[in-house]
Amino acid sequence: MGAPIEFEIRRRTLVASSAAVAIGAATGQRSGAQSRAALTPSGAEDSTITLTVNGVEQELTIDNRTTLLDLLRENLKLTGTKKGCDHGQCGACTCTVNGQRVNSCLSLAVMHDGDEIQSIEGVGTPDDLDPMQAAFVANDGFQCGYCTPGQIMSARSVLDEIRAGIPSHVTDDLNAQIEVTDDEIRERMSGNICRCGAYSNILAAITKVAEEQA
């Protein structure tokens, strides 16, 4: 068993190298090693922000580390927006900020002072579904439903983005009007993962709304 010995060596080199690097740069290309030295925040670790969520203005004092996702779920108890991977890989946390879809898990709430946020709770109601919500129901665009709020928020933005002329990886001609095709929708929805694999029904739902809006 050589593992403990290797670990000892690694620890020693780590300590030595941390000390050496701590003399180096202040920002930009700094490595994690340097900042692991005993630095502490130079100012307040929380902030007060005002933002609009689903049309309602909210003033909150939050730990600077709070993501927009955690602000929605933990501070405002709007639990429709889901935490999947918390690293921008699954899309379950998709919301819009000033009309654009983003991964709310990869955005600090403190950076959204003055912004307009829309989460799934701001899209339709059980009695008056948004067309995209109705289309997901009509087309069985889900099984377990965990990714669905993110899928719906993303799908609505996808149709907006096509209308706005934003090209995608599968757009044939960068300078022509973009057509709503299966390939376009699939490519543009690739940031939203569905582990149940309801993709073909999600595609059908989005296509239906696109046709209704055409």
């Binding site: 920002t27 490595s31 130079s42 100012g43 670790e45 990869l106 090209p167 995608s168 940031g191």
Partner: protein
């Protein structure tokens, strides 16, 4: 995530001065890469300087017929810009080949250039990594390591990580310049070719920025014409990093420019390889990948790069 204090900057020179002055400070713009790394405690800034209020989100024409892209222009806005789509197609193509729609809405031009490698050994804090913890070793070069995604050229015995950007590969083909401002208020113009550093013995030093120096814009020279293409080969057809990517600008006479992504610590291009373009993909790659040192797991990238370019040349 470690605690940090936070401030909003209103002026680029001031932001640079603050970053140099506050120990452990970092700039944050889109945050899509930095926040990911902060959650994993790979990045542990104790102070964040939010640069979104610097007004660097414009795209404007330059006097010599090019475009000046503000550092904060989002990947979505840059890809969709009318002039970029028309005259710099390779850039639009590369941008939309990267990440997801949600991420491109947040990711900025400067942030894209500064994003960190996705090497699994850099990301796993239980593994040695000379980039993350200088002197700790390179997990990717240990016996039986997973190196399929990693670099084949420009690498060193300290680090075989790749630069993950697609945008930067197209920008390398377009010969862009990176504009910066230093903490003492001096502006600099750095050709992209000189911006990213090779790892050598110091893989933690990834670019030419000085402490506190901030990117303000990226400048595209006047359009060079030709047909533009960006071909990205990856393990799934969307939302994955490149195994190999090729940016190609080809003139009617068969001359042109070739830049490679997914193979090196920076976008990979050479004048000598460009000069071989009329002689075909094999001739280009023989020059461009001369001196490559692949691992057993990623040697396929050499063949893949040549075949990808060959396919692109055959398409035209």
């Amino acid at each position: 995530m470690r605690p940090f204090s936070y401030e909003r900057a209103g002026d680029a020179a001031q932001a640079a001065a603050r970053a140099a002055e506050v120990e452990g400070a970092k700039f944050i713009a889109g945050g899509t890469n930095l926040l990911d790394l902060m959650k994993l405690e790979i990045e542990t800034p104790v102070h964040l300087i939010d640069v979104n209020g610097l007004g660097l989100d414009e795209i404007s024409a330059t006097d010599d017929g090019g475009l000046r892209i503000g550092a904060l222009v989002s990947n979505t806005d840059l890809a969709a810009h009318e002039t970029v789509r028309r005259d710099y197609g390779v850039l639009s193509r590369a941008l939309v080949a990267g990440a997801s729609g949600q991420l491109r809405n947040k990711a900025t031009t400067a942030g894209n250039l500064l994003q960190r490698t996705r090497c699994p050994y850099f990301y796993d804090t239980a593994q040695p990594c000379n980039k993350r913890e200088p002197g700790s070793g390179c997990g990717a070069l240990s016996e039986g390591a997973f190196s399929r995604q990693l670099g084949v050229i420009g690498t060193s015995d300290s680090c075989i990580a790749t630069h993950p950007s697609d945008m930067a590969v197209a920008m390398r083909a377009l010969d862009v310049t990176v504009e910066t401002i230093t903490p003492v208020g001096m502006t600099r113009q750095i050709p992209l070719a000189d911006f990213h550093k090779l790892p050598g013995d110091t893989p933690e030093q990834e670019n030419a920025l000085m402490p506190g120096e901030i990117i303000t814009a990226v400048t595209l020279p006047a359009p060079v014409g030709g047909t533009h293409a960006y071909h990205k080969v990856r393990d799934r057809s969307s939302y994955a990093f490149a195994l190999v990517s090729v940016a190609l600008i080809r003139q009617p006479d068969g001359t042109g420019r070739v830049a490679l992504g997914g193979v090196a610590p920076k976008p990979w291009r050479s004048d000598e390889a460009d000069a071989e373009l009329p002689n075909g993909a094999r001739a280009v790659m023989a020059r461009l990948l001369d001196g490559a040192r692949p691992t057993e797991e990623n040697a396929f990238k050499i063949t893949l790069a040549e075949r990808t370019l060959a396919a692109m040349l055959a398409e035209e």
